[in-house]
């Protein structure tokens, strides 16, 4: 994630022209970070690697559609990977629900503390220097956003995981993200 974005944008431009060397370089620079993201959502290495492979197929064929003026390269890549991971997670859940009773697999939180959604969101807010601005958000509110973002959970699943009413969870997520938007805008203004 510390890759200079202009360099990634240049590589994406080369990939759009179907340059295999640029594609390999892009993969080498971004795949570990993207796999980490996919892993959080699908929860298993083999499935996460399937997601990564599918995502990079899309990158090869879709790089011409990348527009540097509207999205940073990493955001564009993250978006492809998260969408694929979320699709895979939900297809998997539907299949399990159709065959056996829905188990708790989807609810299981990863063990390593630094992989915990709560720790991740707090760290990311600090890095973006908006943790102070976001501080009046309760821990449960941040946790709700974190479960949605890092693990691809939907409102009902978040409600179940946090033992909170569905309507409350929806409001937490909505207000939390709107707050994130304001805080980022403020941070953008203050550094401008």
């Amino acid at each position: 994630m510390n890759e200079p974005q202009p360099e990634l944008a240049h590589l994406l431009g080369r990939v759009a022209l179907h340059d295999p060397a640029a594609f390999r370089s892009l993969y080498q620079r971004t795949s570990a970070h993207l796999l980490g993201l996919a892993m959080g959502i699908v929860g298993r290495r083999d499935r996460a690697e399937d997601v990564l492979q599918e995502a990079f197929m899309n990158v090869w064929y879709g790089a011409a559609g990348y527009r540097a003026d509207v999205a940073s390269p990493m955001t564009w890549l993250i978006n492809i990977v998260r969408n694929k991971a979320i699709d895979k997670l939900r297809v998997g859940k539907a299949e399990r629900a159709a065959t056996v009773a829905l188990d708790d697999e989807a609810m299981t939180l990863p063990d390593a503390p630094e992989r915990q959604p709560q720790a991740l969101i707090d760290e990311s807010l600090k890095r973006a220097r908006i943790h102070t601005c976001m501080a009046d958000l309760g821990a449960a509110q941040r946790q709700a956003i974190a479960l949605a973002y890092y693990q691809g959970l939907v409102h009902t699943e978040i409600a179940e995981a946090l033992g909170a009413p569905l309507g409350t969870v929806k409001a937490w997520v909505r207000r939390g993200l709107d707050r994130l938007k304001r805080c980022l805008e403020q941070a953008g203004l203050s550094t401008a």
Binding site: M1, P20, F23, R24, Y27, S31, A32, H33, L35, G36, L37, M39, G40, R45, A48, E49, L52, Q53, F56, M57, W60, V70, A71, S72, M74, T75, I78, N79, R82, N83, I86, R90, A112, E114, R115, L120, I121, E123, S124, L125, R127, A128, I130, I145, A146, A148, Y149, Y150, G152, V154, H155, V173, R174, L177, D178, L180, K181, L184
Partner: protein, 240 residues
């Protein structure tokens, strides 16, 4: 309900980008995204904001098989285990080469690299005077390479890709003289691999007036003339 009303659109884009929008709603919104620039911009803005959350995710290096799989799916020619022939096979598949000149150059390179194919030992500094032919299938894929030393009495045939020969049929190589003279049979060629065909006379005498070669499928080796269309054909040229 106007989905494109700005506050509503922003809320939908937010739920879509986060991933909490599901099922039919998600599919309908994706449809909207394909047609509405405003919807697309709203989603992009949310994705950019949410990307802030991705920064501290711990990287996980993919196993080598992930890249190998991508390579195999996207660049099969590169990923294939390189055989001794693969570099010029790649060259050939590129369609950029074609015609007599390319065929001659290619054959020249091949002969230089693989002198044993036509019995050229020891390796000579200059290319031997030879007759060569490069035959393509109907799809334009190079399929058969034929070569003979100018004064030799053998013709070496190398199949570059397998030829489908129905059981009971024989693939026969014909020489087609310039100015529409009657084709004469050179010999039977294998479906794959290589073969050396004995020539009734020196290549120079047999092929001097020949401009093209063709392969037809015959009921037996004794046909006096091609009984059907050529499944392979190409130019025959003299090298010296």
């Amino acid at each position: 309900m106007n989905l494109l009303h700005p506050p509503r659109l922003d809320a939908l884009a937010r739920d879509y980008a986060l991933g909490t929008m599901t099922g039919g709603a998600r599919r309908r919104f994706e449809q909207l995204l394909r047609h509405s620039r405003a919807a697309e911009m709203a989603v992009l803005a949310w994705q950019e904001r949410l990307a802030t959350l991705a920064a501290p995710v711990l990287p996980l290096t993919p196993r080598d098989q992930v890249w190998a799989g991508l390579e195999q799916r996207l660049f099969p020619a590169v990923a294939a285990t390189p055989s001794r022939l693969s570099w010029w096979r790649t060259l050939l598949s590129g369609r950029s080469v074609g015609g007599v000149l390319a065929g001659v150059l290619l054959a020249a390179v091949v002969l230089r690299e693989q002198p044993g194919w036509i019995g050229l030992e020891p390796v000579q500094e200059s290319l031997p005077a030879s007759y060569v032919g490069l035959l393509h299938d109907r799809g334009g894929k190079p399929t058969l390479l034929a070569s003979s030393r100018r004064h030799g009495r053998a013709l070496t045939v190398k199949m570059l890709q397998p030829l489908a020969v129905p059981s009971g049929s024989v693939a026969v190589l014909w020489a087609l003289p310039k100015e529409g003279g009657a084709p004469f049979a050179v010999g039977a060629v294998p479906a794959n691999g290589s073969a050396t065909l004995a020539l009734p006379d020196s290549a120079e005498k047999l092929f001097f007036g020949v401009s093209r070669l063709g392969v037809s499928l015959e009921p037996g080796p004794g046909s006096a003339r091609p009984s059907g269309e050529f499944v392979l054909s190409g130019d025959c040229v003299k090298l010296w």
